[in-house]
């Protein structure tokens, strides 16, 4: 009788373990491809330092990789790996940039500090600020601005047409409710994406519902565990390093608030490479397709 009880308990525990689905899905840089134009063209500049988020990737797709002499850390395509990184983007050291002898430096609104940018301008170097992109619609504007800055507007138009042709309506089967969590385990808090986080644009592009964008006020909101449990997303979208920072999927589903959601209970988590998710550039159309496939896979 005692043995039967033990067996029953073991079977029950095994059954519990098996009933929990493990439907995580990773999207890495290897899962996406960048759209590019091959036609060669002349550029109005010869040495460009890129300090704006994602702009080096756009230049690579414009077939202008040869004129990039320095870049920020945000553009992570393997084709750019041998171009020296001169800044993380937020701590520009003017000496490093000027030392590369560029004739153009491309920045965006988040590049700083301002004093370093002023010193670069004082050295007689042209500095052009390109717009940031946080939605799919912003990509064309950014590509055109970059293409104009390097004197290749026609090349920019070609790239925009190629991107537009590939951004298809990759819709998902159901209308799953997705929450984008920005995790940094060290800080003991987590942020949920709201309207304007960037992820909302990707989620709506695949026909899913961003629960944060639908209910919260800011692009990124620090959340109490109870609020996340109440939002109860079906799927959680995170960045890969963010997921690692909380101890992977095992650590994530133990977090108060996450554990009580459908996503937490079903381990329905999609992680996307940090530099890819919000890049909004030539790799984004491919990312949208990969995200739709991942959501369909996780939601099964």
């Amino acid at each position: 009788m005692k043995k039967l009880a033990v067996i029953a308990v073991v079977l029950a525990l095994t059954g519990c373990a098996n009933s929990q689905t493990h439907s995580t899905h990773s999207i890495s840089q290897n899962n996406v491809t960048a759209i590019s134009v091959d036609a060669s063209t002349q550029f109005s500049v010869k040495r460009v330092v890129v300090l704006a988020n994602g702009v080096a990737e756009i230049m690579n797709s414009l077939n202008a990789r040869s004129i990039i002499v320095g870049r920020d850390i945000s553009s992570s395509e393997s084709a750019l790996s041998d171009i020296p990184i001169v800044t993380s983007g937020h701590q520009v050291i003017s000496e490093k940039v000027i030392g590369l002898n560029p004739d153009l430096v491309i920045i965006d609104a988040s590049t700083g500090p301002k004093s370093a940018i002023d010193q670069i301008k004082s050295a007689g170097i042209t500095v052009v600020q390109t717009p940031e992109s946080w939605t799919l619609a912003d990509i064309a504007v950014k590509v055109s601005a970059v293409a104009s800055a390097i004197g290749a507007p026609a090349q920019g138009d070609l790239l925009n047409q190629a991107i537009k042709a590939q951004i298809q309506s990759s819709t998902v089967a159901k209308k799953p409710r997705i929450a984008f969590l920005y995790l940094r385990g060290t800080s003991s808090i987590y942020l949920i994406g709201g309207p304007g986080s960037g992820a909302d644009s990707l989620i709506s592009a695949i026909g899913a519902v961003d629960v944060g964008a639908a209910t919260l006020p800011n692009p990124f909101n620090t959340l109490t565990a109870e609020t996340l449990a109440t939002l109860n997303p079906d799927i959680i979208l995170v960045m890969t390093k963010g997921l690692e920072s909380v101890g992977g999927i095992t650590g994530l589903v133990k977090l108060p608030g996450v554990a009580q959601t459908q996503a937490g209970k079903n381990h329905a988590v999609i992680d996307v490479d940090d530099s890819l998710l919000l890049s909004f550039g030539p790799r984004t159309p491919s990312l949208v397709n990969a995200l739709a496939a991942a959501v369909n896979s996780v939601g099964k």
């Binding site: 385990g185 800080s187 109490t224 109870e226 009580q260």
Partner: protein, 323 residues
Amino acid sequence: MKKLAPLIALVIATCVAIYVGAAHIDNFWSSLFSPGSNEILWQIRIPRVAAALIVGASLALAGLMAQGACNNALAEPSILGTTAGASLATVLAVLTGTVQVGSVAAIACGAIGALLATSLTFKLANLRTQLSSFALIIVGIAVSATITAIVGLLSAMVTRADARSISFWNFGSMALITRENLIGISLTALVGGAIAWKVSPSLDRLSLGDATAFHMGIDVPRVRLIALIALSVLAGGAVSTVGSIAFIGLAAPHIARFIYGPIHRNLVVHTAVIGAMLVVVADTLARTIAQPNELPIGLVTSLLGAPVLIALVTVKNNVWKTQ
């Protein structure tokens, strides 16, 4: 009635803390009396309120032990290096891969680190002369600052998430508390509380001065060591699980002295009640006033505890002189 006020306030604060939150609980009362029926209530809110009660009582009692052992109104775990020592030992243990924050092993490391750091403060303060209050506080601040800086350096140099951030160790957070964490902090609260209860009559005599206490038959070093062990167990358990929560160790014993007088055995109970009440109120505010956002609890305890302490000192500034 005045003497029952903190207990009544604690009961009310606990009820409110369980009732309010970012999420609306349908059928609250039936869920409350049906354990496990509502996940948000039973897996998030109640464990967190319980942790606030335990951590508040622990930090307050740790403050009482610090003040009693040092016979010094300014002594508290963060000034004696106790909380910094607990933080450093926990971070080191996490970095070596031997423990996880919140586990019983991490709590043991925290308690050992707390005891070592506090002992270091006492040793350094006692090097040249007899233990003086001034030397103890100055040395304690220096030891605390040094250890806190090391914790900060480790947090900056090592990006391992499970070691938590410097803001966690400096300001504390109840956001990651789970039901499993309650076991460890309950144990340290019980053990530390029992030691505090046992040693409290001797602390009354110690408050008359080391020489007088000695002539009254008190083994002063032994009593001080026992009180410091209680302090380390209580602070180590709380700090290694939720980080440093400011002001509780200083404010709660002072408020208790103001209301109940200097007898330590009374103070053990009442300080714990007041500390628990302060942290429950602070945590409830931290997670509700800026919904859906959450504020760091350490900021709220400072905003809450400091004015109360100032008001009490303004009304009656000779709480310690009554001894």
